[in-house]
């Protein structure tokens, strides 16, 4: 655990020292919110409240996919070899990375949540926010593991950047971020039902409404664990030769 924290702290420190990286992942979700809240002030407040959970999940999605390349970079730049030769258990390198990516995503989601309130979203109870952020954390672990697995598999930045832009928008649009299930055409409905993003968004919405979304959270726990295990396998394959 000590090693895990050391790795996570290293990444957080490095991240906070590069202001461009701090801001860049916030631009998209902030733009959505400000567009809904300020540019379209005529739209009803209900829609802003409806899309806020989706925008929070989108923030986590982008943060997770963006962070997916981090371990691959450590490998390409030679840091990983030094870490692997250190006596801390090797899996703590991966655990530290997933924690870092998730924590960073949560910090960004917090900024987005504040912006949402500023542009007019309804202020919820403390428990509703706590539940929402717990759901975001679970989803963060899922996306961070997913991104890291893909990046380690592809092994270089260019391919991963392509994969990232190829994945991010479609995943968002083919989810319940913008539409309710009953507003969707049949094809989209089935895709949205299979999309992990929908589970996170639905869960966050239910939490905002004041109830704890047990089934969705169970699904999120399950897919996060599976993805983290797949990622661990990929990590071992990428580090042992």
């Amino acid at each position: 655990m000590y090693g895990v924290l050391a790795y996570a702290q290293r990444d957080l420190t490095r991240w906070l020292r590069s202001p461009m990286n701090v801001i860049s992942t916030l631009v998209m979700p902030a733009a959505w919110l400000i567009f809904m809240g300020v540019v379209l002030p005529g739209t009803d407040k209900g829609y802003l409240d409806f899309i806020t959970p989706g925008v929070l999940v989108m923030t986590m999605l982008n943060a997770g996919l963006f962070g997916g390349s981090s371990l691959m970079f450590d490998k390409v730049l030679g840091y990983l070899n030094k870490f692997l030769a250190a006596p801390t258990p090797r899996e703590s390198i991966l655990a530290g990375k997933i924690i870092f990516i998730t924590v960073r995503g949560l910090l960004q989601a917090l900024v987005i949540q504040i912006i949402a309130i500023l542009v007019g979203a309804t202020v919820l109870s403390f428990w509703a926010y706590l539940a929402t952020f717990a759901i975001l954390a679970l989803f963060g672990v899922f996306v961070a593991s997913f991104g890291t697995t893909i990046a380690l598999y592809l092994g270089n930045h260019d391919s991963y950047a392509a994969a990232q832009s190829f994945l991010s928008m479609p995943l968002y649009l083919a989810s319940t971020a913008m539409l309710r299930y009953d507003q969707m055409p049949a094809a989209l409905y089935y895709i949205a039902k299979a999309n992990p993003l929908s589970y996170a968004i639905d869960a966050a919405r239910t939490a905002s409404a004041g109830t704890f979304p047990v089934p969705e959270v169970l699904v999120l726990i399950l897919i996060s664990v599976i993805m983290a295990l797949l990622c661990t396998r990929m990590f071992r394959r990428a580090t042992i030769s």
């Binding site: 420190t13 390409v76 070899n81 030094k82 030769a85 270089n156």
Partner: protein, 318 residues
């Protein structure tokens, strides 16, 4: 028990044995593994530091098997890889602190003391608070040594520690390494700088295509070779050469001979040139160097001018 032992250590990549049946015994000394690019130096170090699994054979570090007790191996040693990797967005202090934590130094006061100590030995105290982005190549290398030393390892593995550094930095790195040997540490270093190896290594091994060709102290290895006589001339070889003087090569108006007794053979050789009416502009005699041993073992033209190794590391997909 030797600090580093290898028996029949072999690594096969794509059907080629890049390290082939290597046997090593290294203890309490600076051991230099010498060889051209691609000869298997890094692969050897990677197997000894538990980063690469051997295909066959065994190896141990401080008595721990690199395969079965790899965690114990990692606790006993430190490793500075060939490609420099310091975090440029962390300060010198933070870079060392990270490794102090990874080596499990949990006590805050102790950690602080260790970090201060190694930064001081490596002459980095004044710049410890600066981002390492601003460090020169030599400083970065010293910082990596500080990282490696922060947990007082018994063995230090250094893969090409002076590559890409200027003369002064190279010398100071070697002086630090020599000091460490004085504390009883075993140092395993790879290089293709023969002059450095000759000067600073207690023992060297010459490796080519994964096979260890030659091993011994630089003095032992050079003692088997003849002296070298170099003649600058525009004349052809004399028709008759003194006994025991053998022409080795001739290029750019410089002819190189080998002879058992270099200084004793010089005058007869000059006489031979004069007897043919040739003109000698200058001449010199020197003893054999490790470079001569190396060139003889490796053969001419084997040293790749292009650093493929580095290139491959950068381009390797996984």
């Amino acid at each position: 028990m030797n600090t580093i032992e290898a028996d029949g250590l072999t690594k096969v990549y794509e059907g080629i044995a890049v390290v082939d049946d290597l046997n090593l015994r290294v203890s309490g000394e600076i051991y230099g593994l010498l060889g051209p690019n691609g000869s298997g130096k890094t692969t050897t170090v990677n197997m000894l530091t538990t980063l690469v699994h051997p295909t066959s054979g065994t190896a141990s570090v401080c008595g721990y098997d690199v395969m079965r007790e790899s965690a114990a191996v990692r606790r006993s040693m430190s490793y500075v890889p060939q490609d420099m990797a310091v975090d440029i967005r962390l300060t010198g202090w933070e870079n060392v602190e990270l490794f102090a934590k990874l080596y499990g130094i949990k006590d805050k006061a102790e950690r602080r003391e260790r970090i201060e100590y190694v930064l001081d030995i490596m002459n980095l105290t004044e710049r410890a608070g600066d981002m390492t982005k601003k460090y020169s190549g030599g400083m970065r290398r010293r910082l990596e040594l500080a990282q490696a030393l922060v947990h007082q390892p018994n063995v230090l593995f250094l893969d090409e520690p002076t590559v890409g550094l200027d003369v002064t930095s190279r010398r100071s790195i070697w002086e630090y390494i020599t000091k460490l040997r004085g504390t009883g540490m075993t140092i395993f270093v790879t290089t293709h700088q023969m002059d450095e190896a000759e000067r600073y290594c207690d023992r060297v091994g010459i490796i080519k295509k994964g096979v260890l060709l030659n091993e011994g102290t630089p003095a032992e290895l050079t003692s088997d070779l003849d002296d070298v006589i170099i003649i600058r001339t525009d004349s052809d070889l004399p028709r008759s050469l003194p006994d025991g003087v053998i022409p080795v090569k001739s290029e750019d108006g410089e002819t190189v001979f080998s002879a058992k007794d270099g200084s004793g053979s010089l005058d007869p050789l000059l006489d031979a040139y004069r007897a043919d009416g040739g003109k000698v502009f200058s001449s010199s005699v020197r003893g054999p160097t490790l470079e001569d041993v190396y060139m003889q073992a490796i053969g001419p033209g084997e040293e790749a001018p292009f650093d493929e190794d580095r290139f491959r590391n950068m381009m390797r997909r996984r």
